[in-house]
């Protein structure tokens, strides 16, 4: 069985990366890559076609000056800047100001899911841009795995139900 490629854009602010990623690795079904910032997330999306992309709402900007500008305009706070949401709006929400050179596969809204502390708060905004999969980090250690499977089922790439 070919492993599915998954990108998780997550800043690991509370060291939750290991906790959520371990169940994913234990399945032996996924190649899980990480991006810690918005800049790194965009770079990885440019360089590789992922079957599923999981995005946290609160991510730091990274080196790209455009992301840094938004971050500082929002008071230099990951929580206020919500760069993960802005990234999604850029990629799949039609406002592709900063993500024009992404490959077509990266623009497919069905590939994206949100795993965040704020998933419930941003639900209307996510639904407005066509993102259908979102979960809260408080839903237990299996939540990342469940979200990835939900994305893949939505794309008819898995039969996990």
């Amino acid at each position: 069985m070919t492993r599915k490629k998954v990108l998780w854009i997550e800043d690991d602010a509370f060291n939750e990366l290991g906790m959520f990623a371990t169940p994913v690795h234990l399945t032996g079904e996924f190649d899980l890559e990480y991006a810690l910032t918005a800049t790194e997330g965009v770079q990885k999306l440019k360089g590789c076609e992922y079957d599923a992309v999981v995005v946290d709402v609160r991510i730091p900007p990274g080196d790209d000056k455009r992301w840094i500008k938004i971050y500082y305009e929002a008071g230099a706070s990951n929580k206020a800047a919500r760069l993960g949401l802005r990234l999604l709006k850029n990629i799949i929400g039609g406002d592709r100001t900063w993500t024009r050179d992404l490959p077509p596969a990266a623009l497919d809204s069905k590939r994206y899911g949100v795993l965040s502390m704020d998933a419930d708060d941003v639900r209307p905004e996510l639904e407005a841009i066509g993102a259908e999969c979102f979960r809260n980090k408080t839903d237990g250690s299996q939540v990342l795995l469940a979200l990835i499977r939900e994305i893949l089922v939505g794309r008819n790439l898995g039969d996990y139900v």
Binding site: M19, H25, L26, G28, L32, L36, G47
Partner: protein, 347 residues
Amino acid sequence: MPSDESLVLAQILLGLLLFTVGIPALIVEVRVEEPLRRLLHKRIRLKPIIRLGIFTLLVVAVLILLSGVDLGAFIEILLKIVVIFVVGQFARVWVYIYKNVSVDRVIDRLVRDITAKRKINDPELDELIRFGEHLKGGEKDRVIRVIGDLCGRVQNSSDYNGTQLKELLRGLQRVVVVNGMLAHHQSAYVVVEKCWQLLVPKKLVDDWDGRVLREVAGVLGSLAVSPLLGSMPQRWMSAIPYVVDVPYQVGMAAIVATEYRIAIEALSRISGTAEAKNTLPPQLIALVARFHAAGPSAGRTAREFLDKLDRTPAAIREATESASVEFTRNCDYATADAIGTFLETYQ
């Protein structure tokens, strides 16, 4: 020369001399810690400063001896010109010392020196790396980024053949190993990832630099297995995709530190590579055996990775036996013994 005038000039020169000797020394003592201080002192060439000091003392002696002596207008003007010249030299010395005490300026100059000669294994690079080892915080981070820029310049030059980064990458490793914090690991990760990405399209991943990059990622990844460094071990494992040696090194360090979540990721990555390349690498067998040695539940979890590869028991046995031989040959007896024990129980 009028007595009061010559004595004032002598006093000014003496004051400047004491200031030049004392103040920069004080600044260096206060601002810079010991190993770095030695490096900074080494960068300041003392001979010209000592010569200026001796010359100043001579001028002061002359001014004192000739105070009250009528020398005539021409000699007096000449003496004043000499005093002005000495003051000018002091100004030059201050600028020189300032340039060599500011770490940022030192880094800039070292980079200029390194790039001017278009030769990477220069003493200047060694000095830059030694600075990097002893610096902390943002200054250490600056050195890492500078090394990254230098790597980029080398890799983007037309004569790059996959073998010229060794010194820079080993330097990067040294800088992070000595007191590297999370931010330094993250910056070094960016450098390693970029270097690898530039090797891939040029099909140079199996050359020297590719090997050194894997070593650096392995060493820094193992070092990152620490509660203070969060997810850095996982990041290091992802810096170079589809290789087994980096996750193996990190996974082994994680098992020793009983950080099994990290070790599971290492196992997942190695088995993913084994699956993609249709091989049974000895590192996979070794890591499974180490899990097995850690206890029954760890052993069962690791065994599942092996089972998912859809290999016959005979093929796994054969790979396990040859892995045992290989680790014994490499004098990694603990791993060889773990593999032997695993083989005895393998069904």
